[in-house]
């Protein structure tokens, strides 16, 4: 290669990707690096951070009050909306289980606000995007949240204390764990959760007895969960990235997840993928997919007793 050809190749390569404008994924990276269960170090680090940002939030609010008559703060100063992990309940052959869904909520640097925003997505007025999921938390259940190094305290409204009518008791029993999972995910740390009303600890939530604090139980999670894509995703991209989690039901954790892809006219693909650790993923080439709605179903390929505990996602190819 002559120096001239070297220079031209350099230009050729730079020019080839000049127009590529990568999407902003910092929020997604932060979300994925914030949650690391079972690490006490992390917990302390987060709590320190929480105290620091709480002060910052107060300063932020007084600054905002001062300028309220003018404009909102510049976009760069406002936290961006982010995908919060919100848990819902769905039936499986082994009883109700928790399924995780990502929903976009307003961003906040204040941990208590993040928890409250995510919890309010569990109320029936907001609720799941996936039609198979449900929730027993009535509208207005969650009033406020406080976070300190001992745990998360959730202040509930009157409506969240008695058993909700017309909801099966075993589904309600998972509601407390639903709140604990969602609150812990919002803060990125498995802290215990206490439920209070007017500052007084509650002994009953949605008609179910609770201990002074409740910790997260992973065994109530779905055997196989699809995390991405989000329900109803509309995509024009060529590749669809699919990710999910598995939760062992018995001593053996599933080694493979089976999937089936279907369109309005029937099944168009099926197979299985290996589980790595507790997660699984695959990439689907959408190049030959006609515009329309598609459904992806996933379940444990190894354990016939939970094969009917499926998770499904619908996505739309533009």
């Amino acid at each position: 290669m002559s120096p001239d050809e070297d220079a031209r190749l350099h230009d050729l390569f730079h020019d080839a990707v000049r127009e590529v404008t990568p999407a902003d994924r910092l929020g997604e990276i932060r979300r994925r690096t914030a949650y690391r269960p079972g690490r006490s170090r992390r917990r302390r680090a987060l709590v320190v951070l929480a105290a620091g940002t709480a002060t910052a939030a107060v300063v932020g609010i007084s600054a905002l009050v001062g300028t309220l008559r003018h404009d909102a703060p510049p976009a760069a100063d406002r936290p961006k909306p982010y995908p919060a992990a919100v848990y819902f309940v769905a039936e499986t052959p082994i009883g109700p289980r928790l399924y995780r869904e990502f929903q976009t909520v307003a961003g906040s640097t204040d941990p208590a606000t993040r928890v409250l925003d995510a919890l309010q997505r569990m109320e029936t007025g907001a609720g799941p995007d996936d039609p198979d999921y449900r929730t027993s938390w009535p509208d207005g259940s969650f009033r406020s949240v406080s976070v300190d190094d001992a745990g998360i305290t959730i202040e509930l409204a009157d409506v969240a204390v008695p058993a909700p009518s017309g909801v099966a008791r075993d589904a309600v029993a998972l509601s407390v764990q639903q709140a604990v999972h969602t609150a812990d995910a919002a803060i990125g740390s498995p802290l215990p959760v206490a439920f209070e009303q007017d500052g007084v600890p509650l002994s009953e939530v949605l008609g179910v007895a609770v201990e002074p604090t409740t910790t997260r139980l992973t065994r109530v999670e779905a055997p196989v969960n699809i995390s991405d894509p989000a329900e109803g995703l509309v995509t024009g991209a060529r590749w669809l990235s699919v990710r999910g989690q598995v939760t062992p039901v018995a001593a053996e954790r599933p080694a493979r997840v089976a999937y089936e892809l279907s369109s309005a006219t029937g099944t168009i693909g099926a197979g299985d993928v290996a589980v790595e650790g507790q997660s699984w993923s695959m990439t689907i080439d959408l190049a030959d997919y006609a515009p329309g709605s598609y459904t992806l179903k996933a379940w444990s390929a190894d354990d016939p007793t939970v094969a009917e505990a499926t998770d499904t996602r619908t996505f739309v190819v533009r």
Partner: protein, 175 residues
């Protein structure tokens, strides 16, 4: 200050400084922007996970670069498997994509196509040399091959791309 805090701050810095460039690096290797974003995002998450075990934090960018190259390579391998699998399984007729994304400049497309046709090592060496402008020694280290191998992959790969320089000469060579 804890390691975790260091990692959060370092990842953020590396994101601001290098995100666009690393996604573009992956686009040159795998062609698809969405997939390149996924790959690069995974590389940042992996670096965060390994932060405490990294001997030399000044080498974080080199590590990130290497992870993007490795993950782009396995994505291509995985893509082949899934494509073959779904091709076997398809039972309904599907119309051609309505809006196949078309790059405005067909030469850009030709460059990306030509790269996809190159043997994997040649493609990686060329992209690291001409896009990231790494030295022979840095390329050798990133790919875990000898400097001699870098030289020979570079010369074969460049020769394969030479027709692109002739037929589609750079317009307005002011860059």
């Amino acid at each position: 200050m804890s390691h975790e805090y260091d990692a959060d701050a370092a990842i953020e810095r590396l994101y601001l400084d290098h995100w666009d460039q690393l996604v573009r690096l992956s686009v040159l290797l795998v062609r698809d922007t969405g997939q390149a974003e996924e790959i690069t995002q995974d590389a940042y998450v992996e670096l965060h996970r390994r932060w405490a075990r990294l001997d030399d934090h000044d080498r974080a960018l080199a590590y990130l670069r290497q992870t993007v190259v490795n993950r782009s390579r396995s994505a291509l391998r995985h893509r082949g498997v899934v494509q073959r699998h779904l091709a076997r399984q398809h039972v309904v007729d599907v119309a051609p994509p309505a809006d196949e994304p078309v790059l405005a400049d067909s030469r850009r497309q030709q460059v990306l196509d030509a790269l996809q046709r190159l043997p994997r090592r040649q493609r990686e060496v060329l992209v690291l040399r001409y896009y990231l402008e790494l030295s022979e020694a840095e390329i050798a280290e990133t790919l875990g091959i000898s400097r001699g191998a870098v030289k020979s992959h570079a010369s074969r790969g460049s020769a394969a791309l030479r027709p692109l320089l002739g037929d589609n000469d750079l317009k307005g060579g002011d860059r």
